[in-house]
Amino acid sequence: GAGVSQSPSNKVTEKGKDVELRCDPISGHTALYWYRQSLGQGLEFLIYFQGNSAPDKSGLPSDRFSAERTGGSVSTLTIQRTQQEDSAVYLCASSLGGRAGRNTIYFGEGSWLTVV
């Protein structure tokens, strides 16, 4: 596609349920990022994939959060046993890779998660 595609765009889930958020990066982009943004706040880094290297998971807030990237393309962010504090916009981004800033990072429109 022309840009980074995320689905679903909006998700309402009950506390305790698991959710999966999907990101389809720009074709050919080797780097993929997940960020989280709570209402009125800045972006919080979650995880970064670069090619076949081990992902940088340093931003995942708890072991309820996990992400994978299959075939170096599509990525899925999974939140298990969701809590109300998980409510946020989850933003995916991709780039041609390399050090952050070497190549422009393109963001998707985000998946707005509401845990009730």
Binding site: G42, L43, Y48, V89
Partner: protein
């Protein structure tokens, strides 16, 4: 504490005026970037300035970087109502441990009144 902190948190101006937003950071950086976000959704990259640069221009945007003060500013000249958005600075840290990620500030909400 945040690596990047913007001020002001909110800025309200009239169309045609200039808007200046500031960003401060704490640790050495490889580069600093400014992003724009409309309506709390996807971010759009505006401009990148490297640690060895002091000023960059792009259209009506001017970014400065002072590494001695660990600060950057974004100037939007001749603002338009369409410039209304949130603006974030993001830093790419120097060194190898944070090679891929950007660290974002809390953002400045800019409102330009017609």
């Amino acid at each position: 504490s945040q690596q990047g902190e913007e001020d002001p948190q909110a800025l309200s101006i009239q169309e045609g005026e200039n808007a200046t937003m500031n960003c401060s950071y704490k640790t050495s950086i490889n580069n600093l970037q400014w992003y724009r976000q409309n309506s709390g959704r996807g971010l759009v990259h505006l401009i990148l300035i490297r640690s060895n640069e002091r000023e960059k221009h792009s259209g009506r945007l001017r970014v400065t970087l002072d590494t001695s003060k660990k600060s950057s500013s974004l100037l939007i000249t001749a603002s338009r109502a369409a410039d209304t958005a949130s603006y974030f600075c993001a830093t790419a840290l120097a060194g190898g441990t944070s090679y891929g990620k950007l660290t974002f500030g809390q953002g400045t909400i800019l409102t330009v009144h017609p």
